[in-house]
């Protein structure tokens, strides 16, 4: 990764759920940190998220899930990510994620899970550390 290139983040909801407060807040804080954030609105599918990640040359995919839909959405999306060879893209999941489901989601390839209430700094630090590691 070139040093002057800004970190590019795709922030999306999964599926039809409309609880967008978390995704909006995280977007705001990441932009304040100088990251470029592409914010996708409702009606995303695993396909549309992955397609946009490719088109927009994204470093980090951030998914916000509040209704439990991640349990079917994430496996489908991770399969596509692997098919498309996007192994360098960091995948983060946030929102209402029961702790019991976290091991399964990590096994699916999610790099980090930020349950609701996570400090914004923990998300920012994770992205900064891991994007630069992958880029080098």
């Amino acid at each position: 990764m070139k040093a002057d290139r800004k970190i590019r983040v795709l922030m999306s909801k999964t599926g039809l759920d409309g609880h967008d407060r978390g995704a909006k807040v995280v977007t705001y804080f990441l932009r304040n940190e100088g990251m470029e954030v592409v914010y996708l609105g409702q009606f995303q599918t695993p396909e549309s998220v992955v397609r946009t990640a490719i088109e927009e040359d994204i470093d980090v995919i951030g998914l916000s899930s509040l209704s439990g839909e991640h349990m079917s959405f994430v496996p489908s999306m991770m399969k596509l990510i692997s098919q498309e060879g996007l192994d360098n893209v960091l995948v983060l999941l946030g929102g209402t994620i029961p702790r019991k489901e976290m091991p399964f989601l990590k096994e699916m390839g999610v790099d980090a899970i930020f349950e609701s209430g996570s400090p914004m700094n923990s998300i920012i630090e994770f992205i900064k550390t891991h994007v630069s590691l992958r880029g080098s």
């Binding site: 759920d17 804080f29 599918t45």
Partner: protein, 551 residues
């Protein structure tokens, strides 16, 4: 241990440093008679007397306790029917079901984008067949039901309910319940694609007019709560929703109704948030202010038209995923706000809301909290027990003034529709939610277990959580496909075409919606007609188009 000893000696000297209310108003350390300028008759009035600051009924809870109800909806209509009955068995006194995400958006369970969302955060209500299963074994003539679909598609769900009542041979003029008729706020609560402004306003006004003329005991709800959950403050919560209600009142009057024909059926869902006294003052202020607005702005004569009736809800967004049992304390404190201010109904949000769809046990605990307040504490014995407190009255005055100023500001902008179209309201909400989050990050706001008094996750309690299986969603898709084959498709098509034609004109569309629904037209099909007639895409996601030619 040295560290802990240091901590305890430091903690011993802790002081109250947070001197501002949730909404940012600085308060003093003590209030005296100097702080309130009150005329008892003019500003408070005894309960049951204008301006109803102290309550709308003379005898308050000695006449009737508040209605205890909880939002139910998950999985399938059968699952939700079982939960409704579980709550009735446990002593709930009102019914309340909430639709799932696809239904809120006006999309059917077999919509290609819906599969991950079926039965999550609510019950799927694609057609009348689902309503039949949801209400199976529940006597609609004996219960009061809140058909809680708060998007601009809620009128279709109510049409399913009315159609089912007609099928059961019931007199719909006797039906009792509540529906959210504010179709504008949901664009800020996740359902914008389903709520183009002009269309949403028209269907909301059609619904209100229809209910006033045909189902006169049905209450029309403006849910301040939903908008508050976006992160706005107490003043904004009331001012925005009052401004929306004012827009609908003007429209109904334009259509020839008199304020006294319908105003007594308006009711409100105030949020009961964590800042105890500010929330109490807010509810008392809004009761007084609403009475004045309805009387002075719209010339109501009937005192019942001036009643601000509250169906309060404990704030879901005040609950946290960390150390979740603490949420039981939070919602209990919030529930006290509703009871101490004399609300007419209450929903206590479940402690597991930040983690999953509520389990049976979580719902029962919420109900038990209400029953403990009602039957063990004696709090409900006396009306407005905090009335006359120097602090509460001073804060009530302050909140009323702030709310009124904001309503006037919106009026000067040309009213709420203009404030929505110009995206002023979007900016207000975004500013509020980012400011709130900054305060949480800086620990200007302490949230126990979340940004202070934290424990490692492995020490935290593990709670049971409800899973909604993907396979159940697949079964739903098959069920809807089968319905489409079995129903009388000629009747469906004819009724939808009529609805499309009526939606293009000025007539009230509700009778045509009910007719289409009675033939098992789906919510997606009904909304498709209304959307097309208003110049919008058939499908909010622009994936589907009508299955037959329209003209």
């Amino acid at each position: 241990m040295t560290k802990e000893i240091d901590r305890i000696s430091e903690a011993y000297r802790q002081k109250m440093t947070d001197t501002k209310t949730w909404s940012g108003f600085e308060v003093k350390s003590i209030y005296t008679p100097e702080d309130i300028d009150l005329d008892y008759e003019r500003d408070l009035g005894s309960p049951g007397t204008y301006p109803f600051t102290r309550g709308i009924h003379k005898d308050m809870y000695r006449g009737k306790l508040w209605t205890m109800r909880h939002e139910i909806g998950y999985g399938t209509p059968e699952d939700s029917n079982r939960r409704l009955k579980f709550m009735i068995e446990n002593g709930a006194t009102g019914l309340d079901f909430i639709a799932d995400n696809p239904t809120h958006l006006g999309m059917d369970s077999d919509h290609p984008l819906a599969i991950h969302d079926i039965g999550r955060t609510g019950v799927p209500l694609t057609s009348l067949a689902d309503m039949e299963e949801l209400m199976d074994g529940i006597p609609m003539e004996k219960v009061s039901t809140f058909t809680n679909t708060f998007s601009a598609c809620g009128f279709v769900v109510l049409a399913q309910y009315i159609s089912l009542a007609e099928k059961r041979g019931l007199n719909i003029t006797e039906l009792r319940g509540q529906v959210i008729t504010d179709t504008l706020h949901s664009r800020y609560c996740g359902y914008r694609p389903a709520a183009p402004v002009e269309q949403a306003f028209r269907v909301g006004a059609d619904l209100m007019e229809y209910l006033t003329r045909n189902v006169p005991k049905w209450n029309m709800i403006f849910p301040c709560y939903n908008l508050r959950e976006t992160g706005i403050n107490a003043v904004q919560e009331v001012a925005f929703l009052f401004s929306i209600a004012i827009a609908f009142i003007r429209e109904l009057i334009r259509r020839g109704l008199d304020i006294d024909d319908f105003a007594r059926r308006l009711s409100w869902i105030p949020s009961c948030h964590m800042d105890f006294f500010e929330e109490i003052a807010k509810i008392r202020a809004e009761r007084r202010l609403w009475a004045r607005i309805v009387k002075e702005w719209f010339g109501a004569q009937d005192p019942r038209s001036m009643w601000w009736r509250g169906a309060a809800k404990a704030a879901g967004c005040s609950l946290v995923a960390q150390q979740p049992l603490n949420n039981i304390a939070r919602v209990s404190i919030e529930a006290l706000v509703a009871v101490l201010t004399g609300c007419q109904a209450l929903e206590v949000t479940t402690f597991d809301e930040p983690i999953c769809i509520p389990t049976d046990e979580a719902h029962r605990i919420s109900l038990r909290i209400q029953q403990i307040i009602a039957h063990e504490t004696g709090i409900a014995r006396v009306a407005d027990p905090l009335g006359g407190s120097y602090y509460v009255e001073a804060l009530t005055n302050k909140l009323e003034q702030e709310i009124m100023d904001l309503i006037n500001k919106i009026e000067e902008m040309g009213g709420i529709i203009q404030a929505i179209k110009s995206e002023w309201l979007d900016r207000e909400i975004d500013e509020a939610l980012t400011r709130y989050q900054e305060e949480v990050e800086n620990k200007e706001r302490i949230i126990v277990g979340m940004n202070e008094f934290i424990i490692p996750p492995e020490e935290d309690v593990e709670i049971e959580h409800l899973e909604i299986s993907y396979e159940r969603g697949l079964e739903r898709v098959e069920k809807i496909k089968s319905l489409r084959r079995k129903r009388d498709n000629e009747a469906v098509e004819a009724s939808l075409k009529t609805l499309y034609g009526k939606s293009k004109g000025d007539s009230n569309i509700m009778p045509y919606v009910i007719d289409a629904v009675s033939h098992y037209a789906t919510i997606g099909e009904v909304m498709g007609m209304v959307r097309l007639a208003h110049g919008n895409s058939y499908d909010p996601s622009e994936t589907l188009s009508p299955s037959f030619p329209l003209e």
